[in-house]
């Protein structure tokens, strides 16, 4: 055997701490990294679908939409419109060769309305023309006659009329009525949370390119390329093998491109195949806001029983969500709201019932948190209210109700809470935020200030990680090595600015022991990794990261014998060959290292396969909806936030003065990316809870259809003092490199701002006065709440 002769290395597996020491400086993992596209985003070089150069002959689309919330279509005539110069086609339901439906789970969402329209903005057809001018000129000439029908535009109307999109989903434990009756203190009421517009910077867009043999390639801004592929295939009545969906990157998704990219992609694909020319569809901001669904508004009725000590004894909830006109993901979103109606608290006796309302509004859809925020908002309002009524410190009351040792460790759906990080996290955050001292400082401020009151609150977040539809918890990767030692990385996840590619590149580089610069994350494409799940449910890194790891392990195992030969190591010791810092070496002889590129070159010459797939499925999860029991989550992500606000009793304006967050991301894969997710999630939550208000008028017209009237927080609205820490020494077993999911959980940390505002409002009245603070907490809502506590 060639190469230097070595002593027989030991064949025991490497000692993990030893490896960790070796790897520490040599791996990009767990290190701060720049977002892989950060500089390009900033300079404008990053290309989104609408930035791609127009292919020759490309046509554009304009969706024909319903001007009524609910109406019968009595006549459609596009003859005059078709004669407009530059118009290539005007397509309606009858032009769909396959199934005229784009519902992701249930087929109740027509691509084009047939006899009936069910919301203002619903697509009736699409104009395809050379220019937007021609599209608009033609759209004006399309004649559609409607016979208006009564419309349901609120949850309350839907309940009154029994208009549903689901059967009730029930979770229960114990005899809740008896326990409520026995409780020393009983609270009841109603909590409402509003909708939220996704406001991704890049609106919905797809470029469809017809290729040979009736196939179509779609460049699409979607979180769920495989579903777009499946839906387009059934709309076109072809096999999925003829449809390729590629996602270059998204300018934000937030859940709004999980299911709702598909209808627009389907229109472009349909037109492209019909016309045999490239077709692009792109919505402007107003169209996007009016035609797509938002976060589900919820109305929840509650009855809660507490002991005077502050212990929660029983909780009865009735949740109603506004699903809009079609099912979309509403049922799963309602489920997740119910799974999070306990938040971090043990509820001994309970009955939760949930139902999705059908209204004549756009079909509401996934939005960061997927129902979790709506569920948590209710229990947090109840906790605040209980503390107010009982005169207890809200932080203590909350902590008293945390999950604990058995039997207080079982969720309402009978899943055991393991690795509970909340008690530790809570204690550390109370200390690092100086909660107690600041609380008393605030009390003296409130006692002395004539018009302003400050509020301070700490709230927890416990968020279940996994798709609650269990089979979705799977992912694939395809890692391709070239002879020079560089690597192309394909995985099933999509990049929407959240930093998934950065994390996947770090994992890939770590596994192969090469610098991230040698790894290129490729455009996500259904022809590279098939049958993927949406990049959603915060699961992108967990699932795809594990798949990338498996693929890299396969490649490493193939390279080890090659390296062993080069290093002159006996083949039975090939398993002891390590990959780190761009080098390949025997664990015990790091000084005799080979460059990675040399090993790959040799592998190629030795006819070793240089690409591998990886696959991962989350072990051991399931849920039975009929019994309300199961283990829907692989684990929980934890966090807590302390927010301090100042509220003017004169104008209702408030300012978030300081926020301290301690969030559990396990052993962070890339701490800079995770911190960005925590900060962004929190601010987006603050927007939902304080300034973003989705308003439809009685006719179902969206009044807030542009940034003119719909107010998202801007830089100026960020907390004046914003301190974000990631929980240390918190590696999570059984998750990729000890990390935890981070996409959604931090959004719910914003509930601390509402709790702090409640604290400030109470300070305007007598202790114990009932605070009725509506969300979003606009100046209007705050002034009304202040007036109410003052007048008691």
């Amino acid at each position: 055997m060639a190469g230097p002769s070595l002593q027989h290395p030991s064949s025991t597996p490497p000692n993990p701490t030893e490896v960790a020491q070796l790897e520490e400086p040599l791996t990009p993992l767990h290190q701060p990294l720049l977002h892989e596209s950060g500089l390009k985003h900033t300079s404008g070089e990053a290309r989104y679908v609408d930035d791609l150069p127009s292919p020759p002959g490309m046509a554009l689309c304009l969706v024909l939409t319903s001007p009524h919330a609910h109406a019968r279509i009595t006549r459609r005539d596009a003859a005059k419109a078709r004669a407009v110069p530059g118009v290539h086609a005007i397509l309606f339901a009858e032009d769909v060769p396959g199934l005229n439906d784009v519902g992701p789970v249930i087929h109740d969402e027509p691509l084009f309305a047939v006899n009936e329209v069910q919301f203002m903005g619903q697509s009736v057809g699409v104009v395809v023309a050379e220019s937007y001018d021609a599209c608009r000129a033609a759209a004006k000439l399309v004649e559609v006659d409607y016979e208006p029908l009564p419309a349901i535009t609120t949850i309350d109307q839907a309940i009154a009329q029994g208009s549903w999109l689901s059967d009730p989903h029930v979770m229960k434990r114990g005899d809740v009525d008896a326990e409520l009756w026995k409780s020393e203190v009983k609270l009841s009421g109603e909590v409402r949370t509003g909708g939220q517009e996704h406001f991704y910077l890049e609106t919905q867009s797809t470029l469809a390119l017809p290729e040979e043999d009736g196939s179509v390639r779609l460049l699409c801004s979607t979180q769920h390329p495989s579903e777009v592929q499946a839906i387009v295939a059934h709309v076109l009545h072809v096999g999925r093998h003829l449809i390729t969906v590629e996602v270059p990157r998204m300018g934000g998704g937030f859940g709004g491109k999980e299911t709702q990219a598909a209808p627009f992609a389907a229109m472009a694909a349909l037109a492209a195949l019909k016309l045999k020319r490239p077709v692009k569809i792109w919505l402007n901001r107003d169209q996007d806001m009016a035609q797509t669904g938002k976060r589900h508004p919820f109305m929840t009725r509650y009855e809660a029983g507490f002991a005077r000590s502050g212990e929660l004894k029983a909780l009865k909830l009735e949740l109603f969500s506004d699903g809009g006109f079609s099912t979309d993901l509403s049922r799963a979103i309602l489920d997740r709201a119910m799974f999070h109606s306990d938040n971090a608290y043990y509820v001994p006796a309970l009955m939760f019932t949930g139902r999705v309302c059908k209204t004549h509004l756009p079909s509401n859809t996934a939005f960061r948190g997927f129902g979790g925020p709506q569920g948590m908002a209710v229990i947090e309002a109840i906790m605040s209210r209980a503390a107010e009524v009982l005169g207890l410190d809200p932080a203590e009351l909350r902590a008293k109700n945390f999950y604990d040792d058995a039997p207080r460790n079982v969720t309402p759906y009978f899943m055991e809470v393991k690795h509970d990080r909340m008690p530790r996290l809570w204690k550390e955050l109370l200390a690092s935020s100086d909660y107690l001292a600041r609380k008393s400082a605030i009390e003296s401020f409130n006692a002395s200030h004539p018009h302003a009151r400050r509020g301070l609150a700490i709230t927890p977040v416990k968020f279940g990680i996994s798709f609650t539809t269990s089979f979705l918890n799977q992912a694939g990767a395809l890692v391709v090595m070239y002879a020079d030692g560089t690597v192309q990385l394909n995985h099933g996840g999509t990049e929407m600015g959240q930093g998934l590619h950065t994390k996947m590149m770090a994992i890939c580089a770590h596994e192969l022991g090469i610098p991230p610069a040698s790894v290129r994350a490729m455009t996500t494409a259904t022809d590279k990794v098939p049958n993927t799940s949406a990049t959603a449910a915060s699961s992108g890194s967990d699932l795809n990261g594990a798949a990338v790891k498996v693929a890299c392990e396969t490649l490493r195992a193939r390279l080890q014998p090659v390296a062993a030969r080069l290093l002159g190591v006996p083949s039975e010791s090939a398993g002891d060959i390590l990959f780190a810092g761009g080098k390949v070496f025997l664990r015990t002889r790091p000084e005799l290292a080979l460059p990675f590129g040399k090993v790959t070159q040799e592998a190629y010459l030795s006819q070793v396969p240089m690409s591998a797939t990886g696959f991962y499925k989350t072990p051991d999860i399931s849920y039975d909806k009929s019994t309300g029991r199961g283990k829907p989550f692989h684990y929980f992500a934890y966090g807590a936030a302390v927010s301090e606000v100042e509220l003017s009793g004169l104008t209702g304006e408030h300012r978030v003065r300081r926020v301290d967050i301690l969030h559990d991301v396990g052993a962070s894969l890339v701490p800079t990316i995770d911190r960005g997710q925590v900060e962004g999630g929190f601010i987006q939550g603050v927007g939902w809870l304080t300034c973003e208000e989705v308003l439809f008028d009685a006719k179902g017209y969206l009044l807030t259809h542009s940034p003119d009237t719909y107010k998202i927080p801007a830089f100026g609205d960020a907390p004046l003092d914003f301190r974000v820490q990631l929980l240390e020494d918190a590696a999570q077993p059984d998750v990729i490199h000890g990390s935890k999911a981070v996409g959604e959980p931090p959004l719910m940390l914003a509930l601390s701002v509402v709790a702090a505002l409640r604290h400030a409002v109470t300070a305007f009245g007598r202790p114990g006065a009932h605070v009725d603070l509506k969300m979003p907490c606009t100046p209007e809502a705050l002034l009304n709440a202040i007036e109410a506590v003052r007048s008691v």
């Binding site: 001007p67 203002m120 001018d133 608009r136 402007n284 107003d286 004169l650 104008t651 209702g652 304006e653 300012r655 300034c691 308003l695 008028d697 009685a698 006719k699 017209y701 009044l703 807030t704 003119d708 009237t709 107010k711 927080p713 801007a714 830089f715 100026g716 609205d717 606009t778 100046p779 209007e780 002034l783 009304n784």
Partner: protein
């Protein structure tokens, strides 16, 4: 948006001529006009750009002589100009508080005064409200939290400009040209309430071009406040602009102007009366603030802004009290 003819004449006379044609509109920065076109509120056959006009982009004058502002000066320029900040600091501040840097870089003074209301029913092509020839004011019985508290019987929209209240308090005068003719118009006489004429928000006739805005020299102490729902840029919940001239410690003349309160920028006459002839101090300020909201006729959803206006007026007057002059 429809197709239209685009002209960019070089002289005011040519602008007037081009703009007198049926279906012609003027465009300065285009911030408001383009929104209206894109929302299908109107479909002009001709858009007459003012941007090629020379001489409407300047700022002249000083504290002594007063300010002479070209109609095409942008809000960003006004906010940053040393002469404006010295002669009318609160005007600079009012301009700075409009929207975002991007908007302020495009928005012109003339366009700001002549912009249309942001009432969300007016801005919706689906709602044919009274201002658009219909028979209903949807805000009166619909979602009206941002709507008018005063003078809302015919139309409940509020005037969109938050700069106009300050200019009104400073008794600004417009130069309006039309072809060869030119006239001076007090800003106070520029706005038209809906009771008078629902079809317009100002007196401009076809061919009229605002060319200059003059802010006379003034010894008044001033105050300005725009209260918003968010800390960063936003439309207002309440605006108050005040100018108070003193004779010793006594108030000789007072202008208290409310923005976002009524279909036109509104002089709060009762508040002014509560100040004039009295020592300018906390007592008269409190009285004036109370008087400012007297006679408010809130709708179902905007009553919460009545006390907000009272506070905003008080604070603006307190600013004036503390101002050097």
């Amino acid at each position: 948006m429809n197709a239209f003819e685009w002209v960019a004449p070089k002289t005011t006379e040519q602008v007037s001529e081009a703009a007198r044609a049926q279906g012609a509109v003027l465009k300065a920065g285009g911030v408001d006009l383009l929104d209206r076109l894109k929302n299908n509120l109107e479909a002009p056959s001709r858009v007459v750009s003012l941007q090629a006009l020379k001489g409407l982009g300047g700022i002249a004058g000083d504290a002594k002589a007063g300010l002479e502002l070209g109609a095409l000066v942008t809000l960003a320029q006004l906010a940053g100009d040393a002469r404006v900040r010295a002669a009318a600091p609160k005007l600079a501040e009012a301009c700075w508080h409009v929207a975002t840097p991007q908007v302020r870089n495009m928005a012109t003074l003339g366009g700001n005064l002549a912009q249309r209301t942001h009432c969300w029913y007016f801005r919706s092509e689906h709602d044919v409200c009274r201002r658009k020839g219909g028979s209903t004011c949807f805000a009166q019985r619909g979602d009206n939290e941002h709507h008018a508290l005063f003078g809302n019987g015919v139309c409940a929209s509020v005037h969109a400009s938050t700069v106009a209240p300050m200019l009104l308090a400073l008794e600004a005068v417009l130069t309006v040209e039309n072809g060869k003719s030119s006239r001076q118009l007090r800003l106070e006489d520029f706005f038209v309430p809906p009771e008078k004429d629902l079809s317009r928000e100002n007196v401009l006739q076809p061919g009229d071009v605002i060319t200059r805005v003059r802010v006379p020299p003034s010894r008044a102490k001033t105050g300005y406040l725009k209260q918003t729902a968010k800390e960063s840029f936003d439309w207002p919940l309440a605006v108050a602009a005040v100018a108070v001239e003193l004779d010793g410690a006594t108030c000789k003349r007072a202008a208290v102007v409310l923005g976002a309160a009524a279909p036109v920028p509104l002089r709060a006459r009762a508040a002014e009366a509560a100040l004039v002839g009295k020592p300018f101090g906390p007592d008269s300020i409190r009285e004036a603030a109370k008087a400012a909201v007297q006679g408010a006729s809130p709708l179902s959803g905007n009553g919460y802004r009545v006390p907000v206006f009272e506070v905003v007026v008080r604070r603006a007057l307190e600013q004036a009290l503390e101002a050097k002059s």
